[in-house]
């Protein structure tokens, strides 16, 4: 079995076996990332395919196998952003300040219970229901660790727009979770892993 280093070296040499191994080894992880940005499977597959083609064509830009995973994620995010660039509208929520987000911290009773794989399916569903703009900003800010200025620069929007989109996304997710029964009064017993 090839090590990650060998797979990386093989991909550098455009070795098909190494590329296939890379795909098989990491497809679920990276396709999951695509899925978070997409709102349906078809879009996720389009993003994934386009991103992986870019990855294999430009993998020589990566100097070390250790950097490969982060680099691939960045490619996927950029591909997703490009995919939705023309379809995204950020005008559906008004600008809000950071303080507005604070009340969410007080509603953690529900979230304490959301620790299983099953619940992640729910989260995926909720994410997919988000508007494209809010979903992308949420993913970039929460999952990828971008800051608002970085998101604003990447998406070519104002920082305030990024913040409002994030706020909207969080509020939307919380509301959706409540609607799905994840609240204090109707607590779902979830097994901790």
């Amino acid at each position: 079995m090839l090590t990650d280093e060998e797979v990386f070296r093989g991909c550098l040499k455009n070795d098909r076996k190494a590329q296939a191994t890379f795909y098989q080894r990491y497809k679920s992880r990276f396709f999951g990332v695509c899925w978070r940005y997409a709102n349906n499977k078809e879009d996720a597959e389009d993003i994934f395919q386009e991103a992986l083609i870019k990855v294999f064509k430009h993998i020589k830009e990566v100097r070390d196998a250790k950097d490969l995973s982060a680099w691939v994620r960045r490619i996927i995010v950029n591909t997703a952003i490009n995919h939705y660039r023309k379809k995204v509208t950020f005008d559906d929520v008004e600008n809000l300040s950071d303080e507005v987000l604070l009340p969410f911290d007080t509603h953690d009773e529900i979230l304490n219970q959301l620790t299983s794989k099953e619940l992640m399916e729910v989260l995926n569903t909720v994410l997919a229901e988000l508007p494209n703009g809010a979903r992308i900003v949420f993913n970039m800010y929460v999952m990828e660790g971008y800051t608002h200025p970085e998101i604003a620069a990447q998406l070519q929007i104002a920082e305030g727009t990024s913040k409002s989109q994030l706020f909207f996304a969080k509020k939307y997710i919380q509301e959706k979770l409540k609607k799905k029964g994840f609240n204090v009064m109707n607590s779902v017993k979830m097994n901790h892993i």
């Binding site: 296939a20 996720a44 083609i53 987000l101 969410f104 953690d108 979230l111 929460v142």
Partner: protein, 462 residues
């Protein structure tokens, strides 16, 4: 600046790995279709294996090419014949030149030493007096003639020249001093003939560089000066008489040798390897014990000791004999042998029998021996093609278990082959081998012999 976090962020971040999803199986095909053409990956071991096989086949080929055949090429004969032919052709030139020489000299062409007749005369003088320096200079400065002229021809030429020179001397004598005063230019340009004539008549050669036997230096002083000037650039040869001793010999004996006829090249019994092979051979080994001591209850090959394996690599050479091929290669064999046996010690013990009598029983010495074998052998097989893709094989192997005694294997097998593609042939070979191992057991109780039943699996590369 740290981002403000809330529970939703923590929730998603803590379970980011749980968002994994599986794409459709067909997605890789789509991706692969858009990738640039794959480049083959050549791994080091493949190159190493190929290099080893190539080296081995080359060694085998060279060994049989040189030791298995009697190919000889009479290069010396060719050389002599060539030089003889050259000498003949150039003798003709020498004759022509000799005829023309007096005319050239008299015409005052300005290069007195270009006269081939002069060269011939000098050579003749050199032969007599063993003063080869001047002739060596001529060898260098003259091109073809000086290097190839036949000695006999030259002698003739020099005799002719001597007679010519004698005539010139006679004429000069008749003309007396008038000629010298009236036509000094002739004297300077045409000195060669006159001087040579004088030198020849004195039986001495004028040697400007390394004068050893000049009989009358004063008489040839002006000429000596000119010759010194002319040959000053070649003085480096003065101290090397061997150069002239080793000049191309005008050996008349060679001329009388029969005409060289190129010997027909014998076709080699072996040809270049037609195939290279690698194979893997699992085997079942049954031990035949050649005991030197009385052994009782010999138990062998428990604990998996029957199974051995071997790897082989080598080359296949086609033979001139129809349907026959020769296979040579290296074989590495490894196995484990385990033995339990009792050796009669010769001592007896008294026991009480049922009828209250006493008897004697022999006392055995129980022993065990385990060995791990690593044997490297050279394999030599003759392969007879019964019909296409079916070969009968007979061969032997000889080798050594490295630090121990030699091992010999007699080997017979039957091979079935299948062509995979135009370069590769897959084959399976059921074989039986009888191995004689020179190694004895650690207590010299027995020798290791083996019946090996093996199934060789290999690939030939064309």
């Amino acid at each position: 600046m740290n981002k403000p976090k809330d529970k939703i962020e923590e929730l998603f971040q803590n379970h980011s790995d749980d968002f994994d999803r599986m794409p459709d199986d067909s997605l890789w095909d789509n991706i692969e279709a858009h990738l640039p053409p794959a480049t083959p990956v050549y791994r080091l071991w493949r190159w190493g294996l190929a290099a080893a096989l190539l080296l081995f086949s080359l060694v085998g080929y060279v060994a049989y090419e040189f030791y298995g055949t009697n190919q000889q090429t009479d290069l010396a004969g060719k050389k002599e014949n060539t030089s003889k032919r050259n000498a003949d052709s150039e003798n003709q030139e020498a004759q022509k030149s000799t005829k023309n020489e007096p005319e050239k000299a008299n015409e005052g062409l300005g290069r007195d030493y270009t006269s081939q007749a002069e060269t011939a005369a000098l050579r003749a003088g050199n032969d007599k007096n063993k003063t080869s320096d001047y002739a060596g200079v001529e060898e260098k400065e003259k091109t073809s003639i000086a290097s190839t002229v036949n000695k006999q021809k030259l002698n003739k030429a020099s005799n002719k020249l001597n007679s010519t020179n004698e005539a010139v001397v006679a004429q000069n004598t008749q003309r007396g001093t008038k000629q010298k005063t009236d036509k000094p230019q002739i004297s300077s340009n045409g000195t060669s003939a006159n001087q040579i004539a004088v030198e020849n008549s004195d039986n001495s050669t004028h040697i400007p560089l390394n004068t050893t036997e000049t009989s009358d230096k004063e008489a040839v002083e002006p000429t000596q000066t000119e010759e010194n000037k002319r040959l000053s650039g070649l003085s480096s040869l003065a101290g090397h008489p061997a150069v002239f001793d080793n000049e191309i010999a005008f050996n008349t004996a060679i001329a009388s040798e029969p005409e060289y006829k190129p010997e027909e090249k014998k076709e080699s019994f072996f040809k270049a390897p037609s195939e290279l092979y690698v194979s893997l051979t699992p085997s079942l080994n049954y031990y035949r014990v050649i005991s030197t001591m009385p052994i009782n209850q010999f138990n062998a090959a428990n604990n998996g000791g029957r199974v051995g394996w071997a790897v082989q690599a080598g080359a296949v050479y086609p033979l001139k004999i129809r349907r026959m091929n020769y296979r040579v290669g290296l074989s590495y064999f490894s196995t484990q042998s385990n033995f339990k046996y009792n050796v009669f010690t010769g001592r007896q013990q008294t026991i009480r029998l049922d009828n209250n009598t006493f008897g004697y029983v022999n006392i055995d010495d129980s022993r065990t021996e385990s060995k791990r074998w690593h044997v490297l052998e050279i394999q030599n097989d003759l392969m007879y093609k019964i019909r296409p893709m079916h070969d009968l094989i007979l061969g032997f192997k000889a080798g050594s278990s490295f630090s121990e005694k030699p091992v010999f294997d007699a080997y017979t097998g039957y091979r079935l082959s299948k062509q995979v593609n135009h370069r590769q042939i897959f084959w399976i070979e059921a074989a039986y081998a009888y191995a004689i191992n020179g190694q004895q057991s650690s207590r010299n109780a027995f020798s290791y012999h083996m019946d090996k039943y093996s199934l060789r699996i290999g690939v030939n590369f064309r």
